[in-house]
Subunit: 412 residues, 2 copies
């Protein structure tokens, strides 16, 4: 299934009134509505689906387009339950952090916690570890990776095995690995990371690949080829290299969604989130242009702002949640691909958090400012719009969490 | 004495109107009232006890239930006195912090200061020490523990003695040790910590055990067995392992308070604070279900939020204060067990701080956010309700701290 979606969001916004009923837009709505996880309560399910299907005929403006991805986000986000214990809402590991880069792995790991994961680990070099630890006591940082400059030739094999063993003893506890933030391109380190990825794949642990992880994967596509739990999150340059290497052609912006679909299919059904002005998402079977909030982004000219580097960890958390819900039978979706659902939710969240940060900080918006908006965006802002009176009938008590209130809002 | 208390706080909240006068609730109120330390002024004592006993008949809603534990908290909290010198309000030591974990011991140590202790030490490995020091200049950090990887076999005995000597020279200054936050499970390190615990016990220093300290104690229960100044603060998984090891059975949630009581009794009268949706507390003679503020907690569905890891240090501080007051004859309570009183106060404080943090940060609430609320919760929120005019007559000057204002409020 292919859902074509315009890259130029301004154009889409201006023309969607006229495109209503045309196959592209209609198919996309249907896809998103079928992807909606409204598990748990079948009554609500029915109401939602009925209302959502009615909604197709009403989708005449941008706000309606926005609501779809937010609904996916709400549906896969677990409700906070006092009976759950620490770890049940996600254990994420970031593989990255070397002599030069310490910021990127920190930003990723702390964002995982701010989004709502329970535990966030970082596996990095010794040089990077003490610095990353000092950024925040919330993270668990393992100083176990090694770079060529600190390893003698004769010791390589021994150290490589030791690194793998150190990660491996934690592997089965992780719900997702995010490989690449601040990883660097040291050949010995990348060799070790290749081995870690092979082990993760054997253990069926999802892998989201970003930054220098994409440099590694582009040169050795077999690491992810045919693995449905792999997600690649390339930016414009990383995407260009991937297309050249895998499809042996140049980037085609006119048929961008089709090209993302072809690329994902050629790599054997991995999911690709192409970061850009519009985020494009495909798993080789389904493709969607997720240009949620692009109006807002256009307004504030976010463009190349640093929210893009937080997308991979966001995908990691939402993918883990979606996978858990699917395993438990709590999510009735037409798409059974947690990677695809994770990408939609991640894109929606990060763009909204970035917009919120930009409202306050304008041109001086830093990654830190966006991270600060993550929690607010999930739980406060969505709920602010709720008319509590109108939904009261649907709540057994007022003890429902903010997320579930927002969820209820989406069902009426 | 056994005070049975419903685990399902929602149920308790909704039904307590009808349960008024029923044996469980009534006994619990009586227990808490008898535990109230309102020492210092016998007139106030009399007034308070009279009012409190009248209060039993008024306990018809949750706010009144809450007030009990808050009263314990206020009663054991020392008044701030300009004539006291640094150290008199508590000197606490955290034993924990290794190559992987630096956050947990930092969170504990800084919380001790935020709650109101005067001095907070950390004994950790060299790797961890510089990182923990970098989190805050408020802490005194001793880089003296060693892990197996840095100790040659032939040096073990020598190093073990050296570690013990380093801690021992500080031992008699401490009012409490908190063993376990970020301790790790390195066998050599745990051997050294066993020796430290034996010395603490010989010196009659209270020991609160958490995290990996519970892993150590579960495998060697003699370390705490029969020591009334030991407190274990297990979470759901740690509790399960303790029950299996000590009682040779599985966790029984239907008679949870009774099981906690049996466990505490079997370990020879240590105090157990079972962390969970409701915190359950017992010293083998008295058991209470402390679900204070659970209404608030239910509202925000705190669940697995990280406030649980701050309970052990909170117990350490309040236990020290209660012990000091009992020694000085300032606290006339039916329970003479400072560990029990410390657990009640700690649970009340941490749940309230966590609720306050959650109000602002929702799903993205981190441990850091809860710590920031500790001071506010003690000194601002309780006092906000005080009518300053009505209590002015009772204050020698306006130099009294907010805590003592709150305390005065509770006696008039």
């Amino acid at each position: 299934m292919l859902i074509k979606h315009g890259i130029n969001s301004g154009f889409v916004a201006r023309t969607c009134l006229y495109m209503l009923g045309s196959s592209g837009v209609l198919r996309r709505q249907q896809f998103l509505i079928r992807s909606l996880g409204v598990g748990g309560c079948s009554d609500r399910n029915t109401i939602t689906n009925q209302k959502a299907m009615q909604g197709i005929r009403k989708f005449t403006s941008r706000p309606s387009l926005e609501a779809d991805a937010e609904s996916v986000l709400r549906a896969i986000t677990p409700t906070l339950d006092p009976n759950r214990h620490k770890g049940q809402a996600g254990k994420i590991a970031v593989i990255g952090g070397c002599r030069e880069y310490t910021g990127a792995p920190y930003f990723s790991a702390i964002s995982a916690l701010k989004i709502g994961a329970d535990l966030s680990h970082v596996f990095c070099t010794k040089d990077a570890a003490s610095v990353i630890k000092s950024y925040s006591p919330e993270l668990i940082v393992h100083p176990i990776l090694e770079e060529s400059y600190s390893v003698r030739d004769g010791d390589r094999s021994f150290i490589s095995e030791k690194v793998l063993a150190e990660v491996d003893k934690w592997m089965e506890r992780f719900d997702c690995l995010v490989v690449g933030p601040g990883l660097g391109r040291d050949p010995f380190l990348l060799d070790c990371v290749s081995n870690i990825m092979k082990h993760a794949r054997r253990s069926n642990v999802p892998i989201v690949i970003d930054g220098d992880g994409l440099f590694l994967v582009t040169n050795c596509i077999d690491l992810v080829s045919g693995y449905p739990l792999a997600v690649l999150t390339p930016n414009i340059n990383e995407y260009k290299r991937l297309v050249q290497k895998v499809l042996s052609c140049e980037v085609n912006d006119e048929d961008a969604p089709e090209q993302v679909l072809s690329l994902a299919k050629r790599i054997g059904g991995v999911t690709i989130l192409r970061k850009g002005r519009s985020d494009l998402i495909s798993d080789g079977e389904t493709a969607g242009g997720d240009d949620i909030s692009c109006d807002t982004l256009d307004e504030c000219e976010l463009g190349s702002l640093p929210y893009q580097q937080l997308l991979s960890i966001s995908v990691g958390v939402f993918l883990s949640w979606a996978r858990q819900k699917i395993k438990n039978g709590d999510l009735s979706t037409s798409s059974r691909n947690p990677a695809l659902l994770g990408c939609i939710a991640a894109s929606a969240l990060m763009r909204k958090a970035a917009s919120l940060a930009f409202e306050n900080k304008k041109r001086s918006t830093l990654t830190t400012d966006i991270i600060e908006c993550l929690g607010r965006r999930i739980s406060v802002q969505l709920v602010d719009a709720v008319d509590f009176q109108s939904i009261a009938f649907d709540l057994p008590t007022f003890r429902e969490t903010s997320i579930s209130l927002a969820y209820v809002m989406s069902t009426i």
